[in-house]
């Protein structure tokens, strides 16, 4: 049980993740998989300032994450893995690395071409194609913003709207 949550959230590290999920799942670190953040020291410091004192922040590229995933999964240290969009999660999942893992959709907000599916989830056509590709890669996708909320399965998300 070393990576206790895979989540897609365009806000990355924020209150719902740190306090909501982090406390609920008793998490030791949050790994942000993002090619733009991994080389940017000053931005990492910003996101670290939003973590609780006992949580560590790790910032890696997709490539690095694919290399280290097995090690993270085998370790007793508990972590949340975050990406800011579905594309990044799909690149991580390529080759069946995330086969039969649960991926949580926690926040994709309004943008041109996207339509509202849930209050915290807006999807465009490209997003729907990526979701289908994730499902083909064996990933079990569902949406839930905070631990106490209802979990909405992928099929229901794609049928609605």
């Amino acid at each position: 049980m070393p990576i206790v949550l895979y989540r897609v959230d365009d806000r990355l590290i924020h209150g719902q993740v740190v306090v909501g999920w982090g406390t609920h799942l008793d998490v030791d670190y949050i790994a942000v998989v993002d090619d733009a953040l991994a080389p940017s020291e000053w931005e990492q410091e910003l996101y670290r300032a939003g973590l609780s004192a006992r949580m560590e922040g790790r910032f890696v590229t997709v490539q690095e994450a694919r290399h280290r995933l097995a090690e993270w999964k085998g370790s007793p240290v508990r972590g949340i893995l975050l990406t800011r969009d579905l594309e990044t999660m799909l690149r991580l999942a390529e080759g069946g690395i995330l086969d039969s893992e649960d991926v949580n959709l926690g926040g994709l907000h309004e943008a041109p071409g996207r339509r509202r599916v849930l209050s915290y989830l807006f999807l465009g056509d490209a997003d729907r194609r990526t979701l289908a590709a994730l499902a083909r890669a064996g990933v079990k996708v569902s949406a839930r913003d905070v631990p106490g909320a209802r979990r909405v399965a992928l099929r229901e998300l794609l049928e609605g709207s």
Binding site: R11, L12, I13, H14, G15, V18, V19, A36, S40, W42, E43, Q44, E45, L46, Y47, R48, A49, G50, A53, E110
Partner: protein, 237 residues
């Protein structure tokens, strides 16, 4: 800009949250960077009016940092990444410090001081004074921190006292709640003329929480018990 930041929630809405207020607060800086370029100024105001969120009292941290990088001629893409990264820490730090600790603490201390004999107007003034001392202090501190640090504001925030203070306020908050809430319960049932020994007992019990030993626990037990007893007696009358 600190004065303008008082209006940072002035155009709050569900799509851009603090966006409009942020652009308004930043206007003097943008006018300076884009002097004589009205088109560029309009575009800059537009991009700063987009989605932004923070605790209102900590929004000046973002204003200061953005002012710093704007006047250094930063690329708009970098500026928007800076703002995106500030949303989470400024929200979390502000909520923990002000809503979860400082506001209830100030309110409890003010109510306690009323029971201890302060006239009502002085207790109200005490609440407004202590609460707003930190509120305005935070705005000025934040603006200065952001302005001095620019892009490095994240590291400064991570090390700042604002991150550590909420944990230190937990004990005073619990102590004042333990002292004041039973008194409030008694007062609501029996009327607001409380016997002085009860008030003194409550203060001692609260102080007792400083020591995590049986002394503190016994004192807390006594005051909670006396509060309940008072409530029961009051209800029986």
């Amino acid at each position: 800009m600190v004065l303008r930041s008082l209006a940072v929630q002035g155009s709050w809405n569900y799509r851009t949250l603090l966006g409009g207020g942020f652009a308004f607060s930043l206007l003097p800086v943008l006018r300076r960077r884009y002097r004589g370029e009205p088109e560029a100024l309009r575009a800059a105001v537009g991009r700063h009016a987009e989605y932004f969120n923070a605790h209102p009292y900590l929004a000046p941290v973002a204003l200061g940092a953005v002012a710093h990088v704007e006047l250094a001629g930063a690329d708009p893409a970098v500026v928007s990444r800076l703002k995106a990264g500030l949303v989470s820490p400024l929200g979390t730090l502000g909520d923990r410090l002000m809503w979860a600790r400082w506001r209830p603490l100030c309110a409890l201390v003010a109510i306690g001081s009323f029971f201890a004999g302060l006239p009502w107007w002085a207790a109200v003034a005490l609440f407004l004074g202590t609460y707003n001392a930190l509120h305005f202090g935070l705005r000025l501190w934040g603006m200065r921190l952001g302005w001095l640090e620019g892009l490095n504001v994240g590291r400064a925030l991570g090390r700042s006292v604002v991150r550590r203070v909420p944990d230190r306020l937990t004990l005073p908050l619990v102590a004042s709640a333990a002292a004041v809430l039973p008194l409030l319960a008694v007062a609501l049932v029996r009327g607001f003329e409380l016997p002085p020994p009860l008030v003194l007992g409550a203060a001692v019990a609260a102080a007792g929480l400083r020591w995590p030993t049986w002394v503190g626990r016994a004192a807390t037990g006594v005051i909670v018990g006396s509060g309940l007893l008072g409530t029961l007696l009051g209800a029986a009358q």
